[in-house]
Symmetry: C2
């Protein structure tokens, strides 16, 4: 097992180490929950002060032009495009992940009108499933949703499937799908592929266009560090954009919103996937996170992410053999996202005990302790210390007295 | 015509005058655009600093409980309920007005399954119309939307109409519908009535339950002073809530979101109309606006609103006779919201000239100058000065040299 000195050498050699200074890391906290809510960029307070006090407070309505509020959805979309292998004119920031899932599913159904199934995997993050259920119960086309276990997905690729909605990195286990292979296999059967990037955007290199992805969605508040409840994004490949008539046809997706016409005419391209007035406060905070991500080399981010998760698994398994922890994430880093989960029958109080001691992860039913590793601000020493604290909690039995209760509301 | 001294006496006697101190009013600006974007409450900067720097920056994920982020949608919903004659358990803050329109329309179609028409008036704010179009093109029920002129609405109330979507105060003219009479007439034919309160909530007393309204939506950034792109609200009468299976069935509308189950089960009551993680920054700013509105007597607000709009019409017509202004708003204040609009063939450059001189209103195609009056922070002297400046612009011909260009992106 590596000793602390070795660990500190890893930090000293870390090419991404300087990024840590761009974020606010609370004293005494080891934050391993950036896969739920990313930490605050240090640029955020001044930015928000400007947006609130000057842009809103002083310039008011003129800020739509003066500070290009109206351009925010596309400006941020362009920044995200650079992180996910898309063209700037293929991504826009708007609404929430759930709403954007609805937009992509209803678009896919339109694009594949002779098919009746929307497919996903059992255990996918619930909002994906729920939005499928809502759509299938109400779509003009007779659409039904089908959920199958991950290892049976490909067996269900057939010519009745209109769309596959699939999450690249699983929220509970971190299992990482092969975007290229799945997209190719599904498209070979004429299926449109929608990628949910909530747990991968900003954590690893993504190349939607190299994989020929059809559509994608993702959230702003995890690895993109956009702040609590940050707006989400939607990607629609250029080749599909003009063939979709949005179901959520709000006025800011209109070709000429200021004509105030009685007839909806979709805007050219990705703009039609906007719906309503952009959330300026949320988008301004998100911009701070995106500015940092734009400077990071995602290949280096992934390299460090793998090293951090490998180190955590090694440390936990070495220090806590016999304490009942069972790895819930893939052992092979090639199919593991930027998180590590362990099963433990006492997972809930153990996580409370960790939180009491400043190690913030989270718990997911029924027995999963979930730890997120965010290479831009997590150090090797953080990982080492977290494992050390877990060891203390288990060896002392302190987890039995855990008292602090937190249930995260975001995933 | 009243002189300045008389005007100043009106301000001195104004029961709402103290509210002006609660808002940031930029120096040298007469802001008559609060019907588009309300001004900033003075409490907003400190609140946002706390939310950004402490709640997000320091407490991170624990803020979902510690600062009750998870309760924000219902807490703010309860505050809005008090302004619109609803019960706290009938209103929730979520998503945007457009998205909430979609929720109410699709709910109404479910509640009235044997009917095939969703009805509105021509010239309604475009997003209402567009969301109707998107829904009707994609609904499982064969729904069509129908737009008829305002004075023909009632003639179209029949037993094929599932829902009437109607905006209480018209965005262009300020025309104010009689909520009680229309709701009663439509319901007599079995029609569900959805009120869009975007241009009335916070500007006048509204009593949805006294009118037996079925559903309503509204936005947070106009008379509620919630900040640019603030989240919107949705009202669903208690009697309908349990009978609606949401189409936009996001995970935060689930009965037990933290079960992460594969099957959507709607939350009891109004919570099912939530969809995704709340926009914490947007909601926190909105809370500042709502706290002020909660202290105001809406009957006094309406009384002053009528006085301000009457004064503006009187001043403009007296000072500018022969200059080509034609009142576009109803002359009878009983059917006029808190705005005054004038037609003028040179409306666009005239509005630019006003904005150049610090009088902020806005322009709406083809020829409408639109002025909003917000009793909590607009003084009688503001109104008097705005008319005086308009007179100077017209008499000097200065409007011909207007250069500053602004096109508001919100309504």
């Amino acid at each position: 097992m590596k000793n602390l000195e070795t660990i500190q050498q890893l930090d000293a050699a870390d090419l991404l180490a300087d990024f840590r200074n761009r974020f606010e890391l609370p004293d005494g906290m080891i934050y391993l929950d950036g896969n739920s809510l990313g930490v605050m960029p240090k640029s955020a307070p001044a930015r928000m002060k400007d947006v609130v006090e000057t842009q809103w407070g002083q310039h008011l309505i003129t800020s739509w032009n003066r500070h290009d509020w109206i351009g925010l959805p596309r400006r941020l979309g362009g920044m995200i495009a650079g992180l996910i292998g898309a063209k700037p004119e293929e991504v826009v920031v708007a609404d929430s992940t759930s709403i954007n899932i609805f937009k992509t599913l209803s678009a896919a159904v339109q694009l594949n009108p002779d098919r009746s199934v929307i497919l996903s995997e059992t255990g996918n993050f619930p909002t994906n499933v729920y939005m499928m259920q809502g759509l299938s119960a109400n779509s003009a086309a007779s659409i039904r949703h089908q959920m199958v276990p991950t290892d049976e997905l490909e067996a269900h690729f057939n010519d009745d499937v209109a769309a596959l909605l699939i999450t690249q990195a699983h929220y509970k286990t971190g299992y990482l799908h092969d975007m290229q292979a799945i997209t190719r296999a599904a498209q070979a059967k004429g299926i449109l592929v929608i990628w949910d990037l909530c747990h991968s955007a900003g954590a690893l290199p993504i190349d939607l266009n190299a994989c020929n992805a059809d559509m994608a969605v993702g959230c702003g508040y995890k690895y993109l560090n956009g702040g609590p409840g940050a707006p989400a994004f939607i990607f629609v490949a250029e080749r599909h954009q003009e063939d979709v008539m949005p179901v959520l046809s709000g006025w800011l997706g209109h070709a000429r919103p200021f004509d105030f016409s009685d007839q909806y005419v979709p805007a050219p391209g990705i703009d039609r996937f906007k719906c309503s007035s952009p959330s300026i406060l949320g988008m301004s905070a998100l911009e701070c996170g995106l500015e940092i991500a734009a400077e990071a080399d995602m290949t280096e981010v992934r390299k460090k992410s793998v090293a951090l998760t490998e180190l955590f698994i090694e440390q936990v398994e070495a220090r806590l053999a016999g304490h009942g922890f069972k790895l819930a994430s893939p052992r092979d880093p090639k199919i593991r996202g930027s998180q590590v989960s362990f099963h433990h029958e006492n997972g809930y109080p153990i996580m409370q005990a960790l939180i009491d001691r400043g190690v913030i992860g989270d718990f997911r039913d029924p027995d999963i302790l979930r730890f997120g590793f965010t290479p831009l601000y997590t150090s090797y020493e953080d990982v080492w210390r977290a494992a050390e604290i877990l060891q203390e909690i288990m060896e002392s039995g302190a987890w039995r007295e855990a008292r602090y209760s937190v249930r995260a509301a975001v995933t």
